[in-house]
Symmetry: C2
Subunit: 408 residues, 2 copies
């Protein structure tokens, strides 16, 4: 007698993690799955096999969909019992055979976008990133605008171009600034990554005004890795005065395994000390701490060049939800928040190539001899992330991958 966790659970994807995905096998229907080790378990099939005494009808219905949409809509009262049931099943002696019968090796499945993105808001929550960008874009001013420490600066991105990890990224075209003063149209010459966390939100708040405490307890479903590909030249020309648009909207990739927020209890840490008093609705000392000790990894063409530390983010996920909704804006299942590029204090903790190469002026020499500034066609960027999990385990976020293809 043994348990599924003992048989299949490997470092990073043990019973303490159990991230969700939408998967299919050999062109079959998409199903909601949960990962254990190198296996993906079809949740509805597992439920049929072992029974779900812990789950109410809403939760049972929610796991039979093709992706997370129904579960996100069912709300937090469905999430915790589902996770508890899954953890019990994979750690109960003798249930390993039942789990095995609902499992497929990850290597044999196709993964799909795990949920339908409702609205997508990208924040700018890393002080080091905002300072670096400010120094480069506006060298004659204070790098941080006066509002930066008073509210989490953010803007809406394009929900329809949030795409699955592994999708190729054609180099975008647009109007780019030119020394002549007249902009020219063409393929971006300054294509970049932004290594971010993405927060997946569920439940509904039709009237908005979600508090930090309620955001944390009821709406934060899970976390993914997020690469908000950016064409710096297009962005620099277009972004005044209404913010980034085409410089960002062509593609934003997410990792395919949604790590439950509940798997990150041991990763929760104090955010950086705030040097301005926070207005009441942004006070995140309640039920905290809300910082997340997730260490990211930026790999280009097989070489790790940076380890952005998410624990340095100035603004936390519940603050992002509270801010979005304080004006009465509604929250919907599938709402999605990017943290903004994660950059630490050190050069090798920067989450974008514009920072790593300081605007292209200080190229990084890769082990293969390439002088790396912005991305060239054919280059592949992979984000990874890990966090401390319960019982001394590691929580692995999998990968967020994209390869640049030439402009069409």
């Amino acid at each position: 007698m043994t348990t599924a966790a003992a048989r299949f659970g490997t470092t990073g994807f043990g019973a303490e993690n159990l991230p969700y995905a939408s998967f299919s096998v050999a062109g079959g229907d998409r199903r909601l799955g949960v990962r254990l080790g190198d296996q993906v378990i079809a949740i509805a099939a597992l439920a049929a096999q072992v029974g779900t005494p812990r789950l109410d009808d809403a939760a049972r219905d929610a796991v039979s969909g093709p992706d997370l949409d129904a579960l996100l809509a069912a709300g937090h009262t469905a999430w915790q019992p589902l996770r508890t049931w899954l953890q019990e099943v994979v750690t109960t002696d003798g249930l390993d055979t039942a789990v095995e019968s609902a499992a497929t090796p990850v290597a044999d499945v196709q993964l799909h976008l795990p949920f339908t993105v409702a609205d997508y808001v990208d924040y700018y929550a890393s002080e080091h990133h905002a300072s670096n960008i400010g120094q480069m874009f506006r060298p004659d001013e204070d790098p941080l605008k006066p509002n930066w420490k008073h509210l989490p600066v953010g803007y809406h991105g394009r929900a329809g171009t949030v795409i699955a990890s592994g999708t190729d990224i054609p180099r975008p075209k647009g109007l780019r600034p030119d020394p002549s003063g007249t902009p020219s149209f063409g393929a971006s010459r300054r294509l970049d990554i932004e290594a971010e966390l993405g927060f997946v939100v569920g439940g509904s708040a039709p009237e908005g005004e979600v508090t930090v405490a309620r955001a944390g307890a009821e709406h934060l479903f899970g976390v993914v890795l997020f690469n908000d590909w950016s064409a710096r030249d297009i962005q620099a020309y277009e972004y005044v005065p209404l913010g980034p648009y085409l410089g960002k909207s062509f593609a934003s990739s997410i990792s395919m395994w949604v790590v439950p927020f509940d798997a990150l209890t041991d990763a929760r840490v104090e955010p950086p000390t705030r040097d301005h008093e926070l207005t009441a609705y942004l006070d995140d000392s309640v039920d905290g701490p809300w910082g997340l000790d997730i260490t990211m990894e930026v790999e280009i063409d097989g070489q790790v060049v940076s380890n952005p530390p998410a624990r340095t983010l100035y603004w936390t996920a519940p603050q992002m939800v509270a801010h979005m909704s304080v004006n009465g804006a509604s929250l919907r299942p599938g709402d999605f928040f990017g943290s903004g590029t994660v950059s630490g204090t050190e050069v090798d903790q920067r989450g974008s190539f514009i920072e790593l190469s300081w605007g292209g002026k200080e190229p990084l020499t890769l082990d293969n001899g390439h002088e790396q500034t912005f991305l060239t066609d054919g280059q592949t960027v992979t984000l990874r992330g890990t966090a401390p999990g319960a019982n001394g385990s590691v929580i692995d976020f999998g990968e967020c991958v994209g390869t640049i293809t030439p402009a069409t």
Copy 2:
């Protein structure tokens, strides 16, 4: 013998207009309807009654939904035959009784959001508006940024808070600039309207790169009135450097009747002369002209204070679609574009109160004696719009209404 158009068609809503809506009667199911005079006709019921030899299966299925979603997804090959069939039915002698049996007086129905908003992009297409705002927000600079005449400046808004005309607008709260330098949290003191056109888009372009010609021929489904309510104080504090967010995202109201783009053939006019050469993908001389001679009306508490002329918009609807997608961003059914505030050259053609009262410094005295600057609780704003239609008719856009309620 007579026709439905002769019996029911009244000025503004004759056979030349036939705008679509989602409606229900006495709490019943939502249905897709088309307006003729003061009647709304259930399209599926009419089809069952008189037959639809002109429509293929896709179009027939698309009209049986509760709103425009299926029709927008069916694409342009369904739109023209549907409109032609509807025009034939309402102008055929003897079919008036069939139409009557599928009709309900507009006064007796409830109207609903006519489509599900996919992504919403707001542009800034009026030169006079952009100049006015620039002068007020950045008095020491050129009012137009260097990019303004080279590309249609725009940004993504919140799709989930595009709401139905008639919904109350609670005054939003947020951080507002304060003379002390430290911002304070509270209800907006500078709540405003933005009188805009909204463009409803259908069909799909997964790879983006929709040309101006294709945008016009295949993707522009219809036009609505759009009030992008704006909290100017919240916006002014938050918007650097990533653009408007909470100052706009609390609510944006649309009129309930979607006027088909095909009803506006006689309203198409040359846009203003462009004084910079347009890059190829923005050249809208193809299959044009693409300007729209729609005259809007801004009424507050029963008094018309402005008539913004949409024909003065510098950027046209097909340019907005072409620009959005030129970087490879996909287009989805239900994508929605705001024109930005429409303001003409004259004071009484301005589409916002920040312009009408010049930042609050030059109040408008209403007939009731009220010194109008920004909106006060209890005030009702109504947008209206008309355009020339075929056969000397008038195309009426109905109303886009909202009443300010006190902050919660």
